[in-house]
């Protein structure tokens, strides 16, 4: 568990920092904040040191806890040589960075934020290196991307910072997704995500079909994180971050995560041709690109950034070679690089703060103003250049000697040694440059602060410690290696290799020669930098950030144009899409179908049916033909509706006929109401192509419907309806089976249906409430003056019709259970009769005479129906169970009482309320009462 503690301690530290920041805001408490921030990393470091003995005994401490076993995700930690080395680097350098930041952020408001984020970042890094479960590792992997996004964008006022942050997030985040894929595949192959299991399954992995894909995806993740070409572009732009961030993330830790991963998985996945070629080539390219570009950078941090890329490429190259010795060299160089690159970045930060510039063309001759800095910097700079006695010398020499050992592919034979030598030459050149150009090289030019501001001496302490460590490694390589790195190398290779022998390295001739060439060449190169820079200036300047932004912008523009082209806001097109989607697959499937004609015999054509069909077709075609003339089209539509009614009547569906008829009239009235605000004609605006397209779609749809209808009608019916016919009277208490289905067997449908009607009405009420039609009313008012608003004769007849219509609706309501009729139709009849009052007497007149508002009527109807349904609970039956009894009272005779009638009353009430609410609110739009006035 305490390994897990290592990971989560910095989170606690971050919380502590947050609290201390809130308790003591402002720039005056930086040292307090730093102190608070230092606690957790320091404890971590001590804990790690306390583990050293157990690690040195070759033990791998594994702790695991199930989290989501379903997907193999566990809270599992592993501390072995490799993770110990990385964890120690992370916490150790982390402490120094915090120390450095205490000065760097002195007097700045943002210090608190930095301390929080840096500890979160530490957690993420520790998580990566200490995870035993690969999926769990991925959690931290993504966390590093995220926190580094926040850290790079730390000074968000700068556009560069924002862009750099986004770029790094997209590239490393994208890599993370690839890595997710790769790890999942790996887990599938192995059957587990535990590193122990993965490492034990080398043969399974390498022989699996999915190995190439798995490896590629994992390497994509590793390369993006470790800034390997061509994904290196984000790293220089991450330099917009404050220098402590750069020093920590972009030299010592985050960029090493990819290397860590490759090293970690090397025993399981390495040792293949693919591994070698992918990693080696990438490493070589990165090595060279980084080194080359670094030479020409004028920005100190830029130079360091590219040099970091170059060194990352170098380590990658070594990992790719895959031999134990190469691994040893890789990890050795990884360590030395961390030790010399971090102080160099710190130096850059000090110079930047002191002089206000990072441009080496302006910064010159600092040695006089900052001699101590110069002295301390000399060590890491020398290490970077690979001067003898320095740690960098050794690691480079290890590289050279390993490069000579590569023989496997014939091309690598001589290419790699030559290649690394040239890269070494470049690295010498830029190392010399950074030192010479900053501290010597004449007088400063146009620096914002000159003489440089005084920086506190404490700021040099972390530099000193690191430089000293770097020196120590260079002086005692064997001890360093044996004590620390060998353990790590053992974890990365399949066999127990002998200790690396540095004395043998010292004797090696050819690597020494190569070192010499690099050194001399590099210095020559530096001396000749003037003309070289001139040539370089001729080269087209490539700004990765711009490229990235351009790619982003172009993708966005592409996305927008594509989306705009598809989602162009044209309903006609969307509907056409829907039709195509409905027609095409069915057409495709049924293209060869021959079973349209079913086994049943065709029935004779009844002339009346033929006539009805004719009128239906004619009127429908008429509507389509005359739809530009809206009112005539509406009249024709009424004819269609009427004949649909007649069809229902003809084919034994009286209930349907009644319903269709009532609905039709209400619908037409509503459409007429709407039409009075709309243009009376539709313009002819469809082109020939459009009409052709629509006709084809319409034709296909019609043919489809006709075919299906024909297919079904010519087949015998086998349905569940016998049950309804048999149980309607004994079980439902009504002879009109359709009505019994509606209020009983499927009363639940009806409940839903009236709810729909009620909601529709309330919705109409809601969205016409603030509808302003005043201008329309004015323009439509041309008719006024002549025609009287409420013809007396109409009024008289309508008033008389109302009670009679109510009587009729009572009749239809009461008989519904046994004969065609029912609550819905009765409700519509009532509504129509009341609508007539509105038309005859006007909205205001009729509204005054209504006994109730309509919304509560709808609500009451729904409540009646629902509560009737709930009533059955009290006798122990489910919702909507009906009860009925035939009673025989003296004098009155037999009659039936059914709860279904009560349910139907709910239906009736809802229908009346909803229909009138819609009408009244439509009518309202025209009245003086006008908008804003609630009607119903």
């Amino acid at each position: 568990m305490d390994i897990g503690l290592l990971v989560f301690l910095p989170v606690l530290g971050a919380i502590a920092s947050l609290l201390s920041r809130q308790k003591r805001p402002g720039p005056d408490h930086v040292s307090t904040h730093a102190l608070v921030a230092l606690i957790a990393p320091a404890i971590c470091l001590l804990l790690l040191l306390s583990y050293l003995p157990r690690i040195q005994s070759g033990e791998a401490l594994v702790y695991s806890l199930n989290w989501v076993p379903e997907i193999g995700l566990g809270l599992a930690f592993r501390l072995d040589g490799l993770s110990w080395l990385f964890a120690t680097l992370i916490t150790g350098i982390g402490c120094l960075i915090i120390l450095y930041a205490r000065y760097y952020f002195a007097g700045k408001d943002t210090a608190g934020r930095f301390f929080i984020l840096i500890q979160l970042f530490m957690t993420a890094m520790l998580g990566i290196v200490l995870s035993e479960n690969l999926l769990f590792m991925l959690v931290f992997w993504e966390l590093t991307s995220l926190v580094s996004f926040l850290l790079i964008g730390f000074t968000w006022s700068s556009r560069d910072a924002r862009r750099g942050a986004r770029m790094s997030l997209v590239i490393t985040g994208g890599g993370g997704l690839a890595l997710l894929g790769g790890i999942l595949l790996l887990g599938q192959i192995v059957g587990s995500y535990q590193i122990s299991d993965v490492l034990a399954a080398t043969d399974t992995i390498v022989s699996d079909d999915r190995y190439p894909l798995t490896l590629s995806l994992i390497l994509l993740g590793a390369f993006t994180k470790s800034a390997q070409a061509p994904f290196h572009l984000w790293l220089p732009h991450a330099m917009a971050a404050p220098t402590p961030v750069s020093a920590y993330l972009h030299s010592a830790t985050m960029v090493k995560a990819g290397l860590f991963l490759m090293a970690r998985l090397h025993p399981a996945m390495g040792d293949t041709e693919l591994w070698f070629s992918l990693i080696t080539i990438t490493g070589m390219v990165t090595l060279m690109v980084g080194a080359f570009v670094a030479m020409f950078m004028h920005d100190i941090k830029g130079l360091l950034a590219y040099s970091t890329i170059s060194h990352l490429g170098l380590i990658t190259l070594l990992i790719g070679m895959g031999s134990e010795m190469a691994m040893a060299a890789a990890l050795f160089h990884l360590t030395t690089h961390a030790l010399f690159k971090a102080p160099l970045f710190m130096m850059a930060g000090i110079v930047d703060q002191a002089t206000g510039s990072r441009d080496m063309r302006n910064i010159n001759g600092l040695w006089k103003a900052m001699p101590a800095l110069m002295l301390i910097t000399a060590i890491p700079a020398a290490a970077m250049a690979g001067l003898p006695l320095m740690s960098g010398y050794l690691s480079k020499k290890m590289l050279f000697s390993e490069s000579l050992l590569v023989t496997a592919p014939h091309w690598a034979n001589t290419l790699i040694p030559a290649w690394v030598t040239i890269a070494g030459l470049f690295s010498v050149a830029y190392s010399v440059r950074i030192f010479h150009n900053v501290f010597f090289n004449g007088q400063p030019v146009d620096l914002p602060h000159w003489p440089p501001r005084k920086k506190p001496a404490g700021m040099l302490i972390p530099l000193f410690i690191l430089a000293f460590a770097s020196l120590l490694v260079g002086l005692a390589p064997q001890a360093t290696y044996d004590g620390l790195i060998h353990l790590a190398v053992m974890a990365t290779s399949m066999t127990h290799l002998p200790l690396y022998d540095f004395s043998a390295l010292a004797d090696a001739q050819v690597p020494a020669m190569m070192s010499m060439i690099a050194m001399v060449g590099g210095i020559v190169f530096y001396l000749a930098r003037g003309p070289l820079f001139a040539i370089h200036r001729q080269l087209p300047e490539v700004d990765a950030k711009n490229i990235f932004e351009q790619i982003m912008q172009q993708s966005i523009r592409f996305a927008q144009s594509l989306v705009y082209r598809l989602e162009n806001g044209s309903l006609q097109r969307y509907l056409a899409f829907i039709l195509v989607a409905a027609i095409a697959p069915a057409l495709w499937m049924l293209s060869g179908y021959s079973g349209w004609q079913g086994p049943s015999e065709l029935t004779e054509v009844n002339p009346m049916v033929a006539f009805g069909a004719l009128i239906l077709c004619l009127s429908a075609l008429g509507v389509a033909l005359f739809h530009h003339q809206r009112l005539p089209a509406l009249l024709l539509l009424s004819v269609t509706g009427l004949f649909v009614t007649l069809a229902f009547a003809q084919f034994s569906a009286p209930d349907l006929a009644l319903t269709q008829l009532s609905v039709e009239v209400m619908a037409v009235v509503i459409m007429m109401l709407a039409l009075s605000f709309l243009p009376q004609t539709s313009p002819r605006e469809s082109g020939f192509g459009r009409i052709f397209r629509d006709l084809s779609l319409a034709g296909l749809a019609g043919i489809g419907v006709a075919l299906f209808a024909y297919a079904v009608l010519t087949r015998p019916a086998e349905t569940i309806s016998g049950y309804f016919l048999a149980n309607s009277v004994p079980g439902g208490g009504g002879t009109n089976v359709v009505n019994v289905i509606l209020v009983d067997f499927r009363g639940f449908d009806t409940l839903g249906e009236i709810t729909v009607l009620g909601i529709a009405a309330v919705a109409v009420f809601a969205f016409t409430r603030d509808l302003h039609l005043k201008e329309r009313v004015a323009s439509a008012g041309s008719a006024k003056g002549f025609a009287e608003p409420h013809p007396v004769i109409l009024q008289m007849v309508s008033r008389m019709a109302l009670p009679i219509a109510l009587l009729v609706s009572a009749y239809i309501f009461l008989r519904g259970h046994n004969m065609p009729g029912g609550g819905f139709i009765a409700g519509l009849v009532t509504a129509v009769a009341l609508t007539l009052q509105y038309m005859a007497g006007g909205l205001v007149w009729a509204q005054e005479r209504m006994l109730t508002h309509f919304r509560p009527l709808i609500g009451a109807g729904l409540l009646i129906a629902t509560i009737t349904g709930l009533g059955s609970w009290f006798v122990g039956y489910p919702f909507l169970t009906s009860a009925f009894s035939h009673m025989d009272w003296p004098l009155i005779g037999e009659f039936e009482l059914a709860t279904a009638l009560l349910f139907d009353l709910g239906v009736y009430t809802t229908v009346v309320g909803a229909t009138l609410l819609i009408l009244a609110n439509l009518g309202k739009l025209m009245t003086v009462a006008g908008p804003g006035q609630e009607v119903g």
Partner: protein, 516 residues
Amino acid sequence: MNHLMIMPIVIPLLTGAFLLVMYRYNIGRQRSLSIGSTLLLVVLAVWAVLQAGVTDYTLYYLGNWQPPFGIVLVLDRLSAIMLLLTALLSLFCVLYASRGSDREGSHFHALLQFQLMGINGAFLTGDLFNLFVFFEVLLIASYALLLHGGGRARSRAGLHYVIINLAGSALFLLALGILYGLAGTLNMADLAHSIANAPETDLPLLKAASLLLMVVFGIKAALLPLLFWLPRAYSAASAPVAALFAIMTKVGFYAMVRVFLMVFGLDEGAPANDTVLAWLWPTALITLALGGIGVLGAASLRTLTAYMVIVSVGILLATLSRNDEQLLAASLFYLLHSTCMTAVFFLLADLIGRYRDDGYDRFSVISPLSHRWVLGSVFLIASVSIASLPPFSGFVSKAWILQASSRLPDYLWLWAAILISGLLIIAALSRAGSGWFWRPEEHSTARTRAIEKTQQLDHARMATVCVMIAISFALALFAQPVMDYLDAATKLIYQPSGYVDTVLGDYVSQGEEVTE
């Protein structure tokens, strides 16, 4: 018979109806009723989840009629979990809306309750026509809610949304007609039984009907090319409504699972409707791709979120179409995550818009923003979650989906689509976030400070959003029990015979005699 089962439908209905009767209630009373009802729904949904965990299928015979003659409600783990998701989501939406957006129009709470009735009904019903009815209930309520608050954008988007769905309803009825005409029943279990025993010549017609249903559900679920209504509609709707709409696409998905996997899945030789699934697979992938592209090209956070909804639909349907038990379980987990998080983003877009000087959530316009620290942090965390980065539920769900799919053929397409769309989301959200919260030149103005003073941060709204994000986190933290539940849920889906036997009881064994 346990009457609690009908309550998820009846309670919102009663509440909505009561709110209409008491149409003069002031907004405060409306809110308390609505919140009370929704809380009750949460409790009921928890009960449902527990109940379904104990009993595979809980049945409720409406009107005490034996299925297939009467309508039956079926509670299984899948419907239970959908109920819970709906209840939780709606609770947050109601709470959020109760901070003021419910005042923008009339009868918000009544309409919302009806909407819940429709959604819950659709999840519970075991009858295909009843499903149609509940679809209509939830649609008409959604039309009303979409238009809530008025305005030109809503009118336009609403008109398209309504007309398209009306076309969908017509198709639904056509399909129902064909199914009834050939199978003679509409109860899902009975239909499954009939389809499994259908004559050879009828099978293509039945499948064609199911293709129509694919279009119908595809419109609801926003499947390409039926999805174009969605971005405008969702981005035009008021925030809590849009957040609630996050569940609406899932209703389409749910219906597909029920119909194409269960109703068409009884035939031993062909488990699930291969015809539909074959069409679904490529279209879902393209949907996913288009969603990703739309995310990248979106000009405002609402639109971006709308496209994230499409991405989630693409993932859900693509996984559904692979017809695999484990993958379906994974996709259900993703459904929980994506619904929750897209809802969060709709609310967040609104919240941010409230504190922006121009009141909008457009990316291109730079406008002073107050409370940027809090908003920025929440936005960051929410983005991490929705981009499926760890440690939130999205990461777990995607990992599960990718894992489960890797056993199946053609999985690389799905992988590529999911991973690339994830990247696009990261890119788009980082652009949005850095553009909004990292623009000090606009933030530090005196104007911003002035706004900040007058505009108190709405802690209730903020808390709503935060709790929803916390749910996403909790979902990841306690993923295993949830996954166990979902595994069990999908197991039932892939054993339709159990469903059919339970629902139909002895009707099947006695054969068709009962009908006489």
